[in-house]
């Protein structure tokens, strides 16, 4: 479809327009400020993590105030996703996929908690609050010690237990 579109343009425009930066002169340049306002993602190498930090102790308080109503007081009671435990269950008939047993990257916690949590008020937590909740969840899963502090340098360095548990698509995988 794209190829057809380009072919139709060719007789009158490609040669003449090749030197121009854009073909259609639609849209406008994005400013640094508006990119910064919308660019909330965090990558596994830590790119996108903001300044700030959080402790396990502070995370316990934030979780109790803003997360426990859905995830339970110790993050395993639900009704929303269970966030701790499940180690060694992935091969069993009843796998329990939690932050500790399944999630491969600690940075995903920061990205997801900031963008989508709490469910009734997403993007309302401050960076310090997000770092703190992440620290508490990692501690709850026995991945970091109780005195650890999470920030833009320490979080990407956290090794998740199931870091090597994922493989690429291997389909088609059924004999013909």
């Amino acid at each position: 479809m794209v190829a057809i579109g380009l072919a139709c343009l060719a007789p009158w425009s490609v040669a003449a327009e090749q030197d121009k930066a854009t073909f259609y002169d639609l849209g406008r340049p994005a400013s640094e400020a508006e990119i910064k306002a919308m660019d909330i993602d965090v990558a596994p190498i830590g790119a996108g993590l903001p300044p700030g930090s959080g402790t396990v102790h502070r995370g316990r308080q934030v979780f109790a105030a803003k997360c426990a109503a859905c995830h339970g007081p110790s993050a395993i009671e639900g009704p929303a996703d269970r966030l701790a435990g499940g180690h060694g269950t992935l091969k069993t008939p009843k796998p329990l996929k939690t932050v500790g047993s399944y999630w491969p990257y600690a940075t995903t916690l920061y990205d997801y908690i900031y963008r989508a949590m709490p469910f009734n008020a997403p993007q309302s937590l401050t960076p310090d609050e997000v770092y703190a909740v992440v620290a508490w969840l990692l501690y709850r899963n026995e991945i970091i010690p109780e005195d650890a502090v999470m920030d833009a340098h320490t979080l990407p360095a956290v090794q998740m237990p199931n870091r090597n548990g994922f493989v690429p698509d291997q389909r088609p995988d059924l004999p013909k």
């Binding site: 990119i35 796998p95 995903t108 990205d111």
Partner: protein, 414 residues
């Protein structure tokens, strides 16, 4: 996602209870202005004149609605709703019945203030308004979208009772928009860019990392569905369309595309939408929805009469065209070729039919399809044999409907 099979009794909710529910919801809506929509069409079935040729008819209206005698509806379950395929014909799903899967509801978006930001590894970071995108050269394509969790109840059960419950997380529309490649060329993608993050404007700010190469010539930034602007549930005013790829990658309410060199490993591509294998590893980035078919009529919950029965169903493949559909009435022991209705488009639902005569004996109806790559839809036993029963996603096995001697149809795992 909740198991749609658990609450089957609610499908046949009585009229009195339905109206009572509607009234309660109206009261709630007044009390909480945040409740955006009500259950539609609680109107009474009208009394039709004995002879409509003797009474003047209704006058034209600005925006049409279906006959007041029709009742087919989606089955909402939390953040999903399921398409009633047992009630539908042809290949196009009516927009009002297109399945839904949200990650935190349907956002209310004013198209005049909606913007698409394209940034990252591009020469020129750009912002496009909805109107800008509509001015680009347009493309249209009829394509299915299937949630990777479609038929998840058929892995381990409890199984869905109707085709709406087993296969309702898929629909087909004609999508119109601008080719992704056109917009990316406008921004000048840098040669080292290999992945793209797509992000929605919903309150999950839903994100998926998309590898550029396999989809660059097919992806569409869609602003229209079946000839009119996208439905809010389908991403109004802008969504990504990746034909043949699992539903959640077709990011709705699209607000941002960022070009990069590696996947972002978002929650929706690590802890969710990954397929757990029996050995404890999980498959990641399993984008393509493999070839699959299902008989939509007769299907679970229906009742047939002896004599001629046209077996009708849908077949589709995320790898291209469906080339063949076979139907079995004896649980897969013998197969006969079904008719494919035109158009049989790539990465699109294809309607098939099979002329059958039911003699009143017990039967097990199945369909299986083959796509243009030669891939044959597997049996449930073969699929579970390779992947176990805990994958959750990408169930594409043959569906079995048992016809009992009284003509009632039910879902069975054979």
């Amino acid at each position: 996602m909740k198991d749609p099979g658990k609450k089957v009794g609610e499908v046949a909710v009585g009229r009195r209870r339905f109206l009572k529910t509607a009234v309660t919801l109206t009261g709630l809506a007044i009390a909480q202005s945040a409740v955006p929509t009500l259950r539609a069409e609680a109107q009474e079935t009208p009394k039709a004149p004995e002879d409509p040729t003797k009474v003047p008819g209704a006058l034209p209206t600005p925006y049409g609605r279906r006959s007041a005698f029709e009742r087919a509806e989606r089955l909402p379950r939390g953040q999903i709703s399921l398409t009633p395929h047992q009630d539908l014909h042809g290949i196009i799903t009516p927009s009002a019945l297109h399945f839904e899967r949200h990650h935190n509801g349907v956002p209310l978006i004013d198209p005049a203030s909606h913007k698409l930001l394209v940034h990252g590894l591009v020469e020129r970071p750009m912002v496009f308004t909805t109107e800008d995108l509509k001015r680009f050269p347009s493309v249209s394509r009829i394509a299915f979208i299937e949630c990777s969790g479609n038929s998840f109840s058929e892995w381990a059960g409890p199984p869905g009772q109707t085709v709406q419950q087993t296969h309702g997380l898929m629909s087909t529309s004609e999508w119109t928009g601008v080719a992704l490649a056109t917009v990316l060329r406008e921004c000048g993608v840098k040669p080292e860019a290999t992945w793209m993050l797509a992000e929605g404007s919903d309150s999950a700010a839903m994100t998926r990392s998309i590898p550029l190469a396999p989809m660059l010539n097919e992806a569409i930034l869609a602003y229209a569905q079946n000839g009119e602007p996208l439905r809010p549930e389908q991403g109004y005013p802008l969504r990504l369309l990746l034909p043949g790829w699992e539903g959640n990658t077709n990011i709705k309410w699209l607000r941002r595309l960022e070009l990069g060199v590696a996947p972002w490993m978002t929650r929706e591509e690590t802890s969710h939408y990954t397929d757990l294998m029996p050995d404890g590893t999980a498959r990641q980035f399993t984008f393509v929805m493999e070839a699959k078919s299902v008989i939509t009529s007769p299907s679970g919950g229906q009742r047939i009469k002896p004599g001629f029965v046209e077996v009708r169903g849908l077949a589709w493949s995320g790898r291209g065209r469906v080339t063949r559909v076979e139907v079995s009435a004896d649980g897969g022991r013998t197969w006969r070729t079904a008719q494919l209705q035109e158009p049989a488009l790539p990465k699109c639902h294809t309607r098939f039919t099979f002329a059958w005569r039911w003699t009143g004996e017990e039967a097990i109806l199945q369909s299986r399809c083959t796509d243009e790559t030669g891939y044959v839809q597997p049996t449930r036993r073969a699929l579970i044999g390779v992947r176990g029963a805990n994958s959750v996603y990408h169930f594409n096995a043959v569906q079995s409907w048992k016809i009992a001697t009284d003509g009632s149809v039910s879902n069975v795992h054979v």
